[in-house]
Every structure is written in C-alpha cells, then in structure tokens.
Symmetry: none
Subunit: 175 residues, 2 copies
DNA sequence: CTATTGTGTTTGCAATTGCAAGCACCGTCG
DNA sequence: CGACGGTGCTTGCAATTGCAAACACAATAG
C-alpha cells in the first residue's frame, strides 16, 4: 500500500533524515523550520505546507517532487514529461507562448489517451505505485479516427476560444 | 505583509481560469475550495497550501507541477531544457502531433526574434546550462501588451477561425 | 552527585489558512 | 420600477499552521 498520505510523508522524512545521519534539530536548522514542528511533522501530527515541505526537501537535499509525491500533493501518475519540463524551463518564449505549448501538448496527450485507452504505456520511468481510481477525462470523441482531432488548435487562440486546457466543453456539475 | 511569489501564482491561476472561460465560483466548486478563498488566492492576498494548490490544479485540469513551479515550490531546474529535443524524443505523441509542436515552437521563436533580435541564444541544442535559476520576483515578458502576434500559426490552421467574442479578458485593478 | 550537552517531545500562543455569510455590481426579464 | 441570476469581493470566525519556551530522557564530563 503505497498510498501517499500525510502520515507517510512524516515517515519518509524521518527515514531520509536518519539515513542521512542528521539530527532532527540539525535538519530543522538547515531547513529553516523549528525543531518541534519538524518533530510533529515526522510523527504525522502536523500537515506541513508546501513551503515547509520544500524547505525540508532542500535540507535533506532530496527532490522536492519526491516529497510532494509522498505527501500526495502530486499525483505520481501524472506523467512527468520531458517535454513539459523543457517547455517550462525554456526562457526563450514568453509566458503566454509557454502556456500555449503546454496546453497543446497536454491536449495531444489527452486525445491520445482518449483514443487508445488500452495503450497505457506511459513514459514514466518512475513507476506509479498509487492505485488511483479512474478519472473523468473522457471529453473528446473517441470515435474520431482523425489524426488530429478538432480542438487542438483552439489552444492557440487563447483570447478567442477556450483552449483545450482539459475541458473543451465546460459542463456545470455542482458537486 | 510581504507576499513573496504568491502574487505570480495568483495571476497564473486567474489567467488559466479566464482562458478556460470558467467563473471563479465554478472553479472553486470544481476545485473544492470556497469562492472567496479562491478570489483571495488569485489576487495574492492568501498563500494557498499545497493541498489547495493541488485541488486547484485538478480543477483547472492543468499540471500540478506547473502550479508548484509557478508558486516557486518546485525548483524548475530540470537538466535538459531543450524543448525541441524533448519533443523529438517524446514517444507519447504521434508523428503529426510532434511536427505540429515543433512548428509552433519554432514559430514562437521566430516571432520573438523578430520582436527582439537582440537576444539570440540556443536554437536546438542546449547552449548554456543554468544550474541555479535566479529566483526572480518579476518575470514579466517584455511583450506583455501584445499577447500573441496573430498569424504565428497560419500554416497550422486546417480548420477555421473560431468566432471571436469581442470582449477580451478584463483585468481587475487592485485598490 | 551535579552540570552540560545531546537527542526528540510537549505545551501554550501569535499568525495564518480556509470558509460561511453577506455585500456590491452588472445584465436581463416581469 | 423591482426581482432574479450572474459575476467577483469583503467580512467575521473556527480551525490550523508554525514557533518559542520548556520538558523528559540519555550520555558524558567535572
């Protein structure tokens, strides 16, 4: 049961800390948090904010994302695409262009998932140990065999049309 | 109260929301947060916890990591930040989609070069690896007023021009 | 035996998150 | 004109975060 919950994040931190052979106080100092608070975090008595988590990750010199995944703040099944990270890291394009690219790419991924849900061969070298319940991302028409379904371009007109940000058609569902 | 980078995350969320043409209340409902709180987050008056951030990302159906990066909670220092290389290496998209992405990216680069020919660095290979990205507070693009030059993808429009609404996103002035 | 230093933990408390309720504004419909 | 539904914003308030101070225990030094 690798279900990431708040309790396990504490164990994870403590484990990492013990492995690194640092004392609680020391890690607290390095991370810039108070020792009692770190203690409570490790014991699962407190739910640290992302900022604190980030600090702790720095103090432990581990990946912030690993910690977030452990905390359940990042869905591990979320494909950590190199394309997306590359786009985000690119500083040669404007923020809007970046978002457009991200939108398009994610829309592509989504279309592909909708058309071939069986081929679940994600890129993830990093396994996704979290058995997540099914998600409602069926928005596009799966019948469409067109190589490039409509709507992939709508993301290119961020001021005129809603991009295929995810929901091409907005449905009002109060939950 | 000093709100470090929270402002940018708020703007980012609001931009994503307006682009997706969702109302604040609707996103709040989808994300499972209260509408006033979301309002405050978007205006940078509150610093949302990672949990809330994650919920919002889900509600917007965008990557949680994108939000975390925007919030400065994840160091976006991914090793290879070459967009084109990443796109070419990606096997989760079709060949056609790949070509579209490459076209769009290159057209973006072209537009930027046309507007700011002063800056020119890498084209397809990584030129200068930045191990430590500066924690910049303001990352406003120079071409802020002109969002995206039209015609940057005229060759990529196999369908039609979507109907324009006439009224663009309205900015809210604080104060 | 009494300090001192080390570990992690518990205890109040200021500051903050996050929300329910309500306000102000705009457009439409009777 | 007034009622209704839509948008976002402001206001108190419970619940929580995160910390400074102090605690309990263990090992070493004087």
């Amino acid at each position: 049961m690798a279900l990431p919950k708040v309790g396990s994040i504490g164990e994870y931190i403590r484990e990492q800390r013990t492995v690194a052979k640092i004392s609680l106080r020391q890690l607290a100092a390095t991370a810039g948090v108070s020792n009692p608070y770190l203690s409570q975090i490790e014991r699962g008595l407190r739910k640290p904010s992302a900022e604190i988590l980030n600090q702790i990750a720095k103090g432990l010199q581990i990946s912030s994302q690993a910690l977030y995944v452990q905390a359940g703040l990042i869905e591990a099944r979320e494909p950590d695409s190199d394309v997306l990270t590359a786009i985000r890291a690119d500083h040669l394009i404007t923020e809007r262009q970046r978002q457009v690219l991200i939108d398009i790419y994610e829309s592509f991924r989504k279309e592909n998932r909708a058309e071939a849900p069986d081929e679940d061969a994600q890129t993830s070298q990093k396994a996704h140990p979290a058995p997540e319940p099914p998600r409602d991302d069926a928005d596009s028409s799966p019948d469409d065999e067109a190589p490039l379904p409509k709507g992939y371009l709508s993301a290119l007109k961020p001021y005129e049309t809603p991009p295929s940000n995810g929901h091409v058609t907005q449905e009002t569902k109060e939950g």
